[in-house]
Symmetry: C2
Subunit: 220 residues, 2 copies
């Protein structure tokens, strides 16, 4: 029985990591779509989102099955609760990739306008946060998970900067409001992906240390 | 033992509903703050958000304790999993109320500018969705929960409309970009509250009917 249970836990771990890899891929595609204003990639992200949705539902059903059949306690119980929540965050990250793809489809329609903002550094940081949070989960690496939480502040700052730049650039280009608002929204979607990666990292810390680090308890 | 367990389930139900009532109150305050550009209310929302955060952490810890101690199965297990997820949605709704409060503080700084958008109808619909989703949870009312899911489409449409109006109004008032972008963001925060209320309604449906209705399975 115990052996069977641990097999199921291993299976669950594999599945959440494979969902993580798929979602990481969508984020990478979304960033590529921004860089190259690539509508084909954007469409691919939008049209295959159902795969992520289906996988999320399956993983949650699997978690409930394992909880009901094996009634785990202590660290195993905590692991399954973490999987339920991380599963949810991953699905929402994929939704943000879809939102970015929709924004890209809009901005790709017109001419490319100058926008003095380092999008790619923000995108790179966000992608790195997601990668690190999943690596922290695979290796139960609490130090790496803490690094993700710190990086989140940097991404928040860059998003604030995008906000200020958009304000000025629209003043000079009132005819291209929609274009620049779409860029601003893309920056916010990246920021939300960073937030979800932080949630994942916090779940990993909780899983390892048994403390809830959410809501700024980190600093105390 | 069974009696003790059911007492704990009742306690959990009371706590999630009392968090729900607190969060509903924050949303109502946020809407009032928008209507009256009331910085005092906005500050109150921002400064008391830690209460919601603390309560969320306590409820999650309580859920894990009940899972570990009583190892519930079937509908009880499903109920506790639903509480874990609804708890999370409620906390994020409160975060959106904080985001709205920050937006209000910005727009309250300057003169009131004309913006031809029915904010209040959107706010009312969103508030009604949250109320209905919590009522559906209290009374395990699946019909009411379905109504919330349908209302969500209406709120999405209104948000799309806000987007179009902002675009035009900024063209005519390029000097007030930040003001109108803040209004647009407030509309998006309301839309996110509606999304979370939909998540809660879907959890209630799942709890009652044992089916996952997320990701459009509703229509099939």
């Amino acid at each position: 029985m115990a052996k069977h249970f641990h097999k199921e836990l291993e299976k669950l771990k594999k599945r959440i990591l494979s969902l993580g890899a798929m979602v990481e891929d969508r984020v990478r595609m979304a960033i590529k779509a921004i860089e190259n204003r690539d509508v084909t990639i954007a469409d691919k992200i939008i049209n295959t989102d159902y795969e992520i949705d289906e996988m999320e539902v399956e993983i949650e059903e699997e978690c409930l099955k394992v909880l009901a059949l094996h009634q785990p306690v202590a660290v195993d119980l905590r692991f399954i609760t973490a999987v339920i929540k991380i599963n949810n965050d991953l699905e929402r990250i994929a939704d943000e990739a879809v939102n970015i793809a929709r924004g890209v489809k809009y901005i790709a329609k017109g001419e490319k306008l100058h926008f003095d903002f380092d999008f790619y550094s923000m995108a790179e940081k966000t992608e790195a946060m997601l990668k690190k949070s999943l690596d922290a989960l695979v290796n139960l690496d609490v130090d790496l998970a803490f690094k993700v939480c710190i990086l989140d502040d940097e991404v928040d700052k860059i998003n604030g900067e995008a906000h200020r730049i958009v304000k000025d650039v629209i003043k000079d280009n009132p005819d291209h409001v929609e274009y620049f608002i779409n860029l601003l929204l893309i920056s916010r979607h990246l920021e939300r992906i960073a937030d979800h990666a932080t949630n994942i990292a916090e779940e990993v810390i909780y899983l390892i240390e048994g403390e809830i680090v959410r809501h700024g308890r980190l600093e105390t």
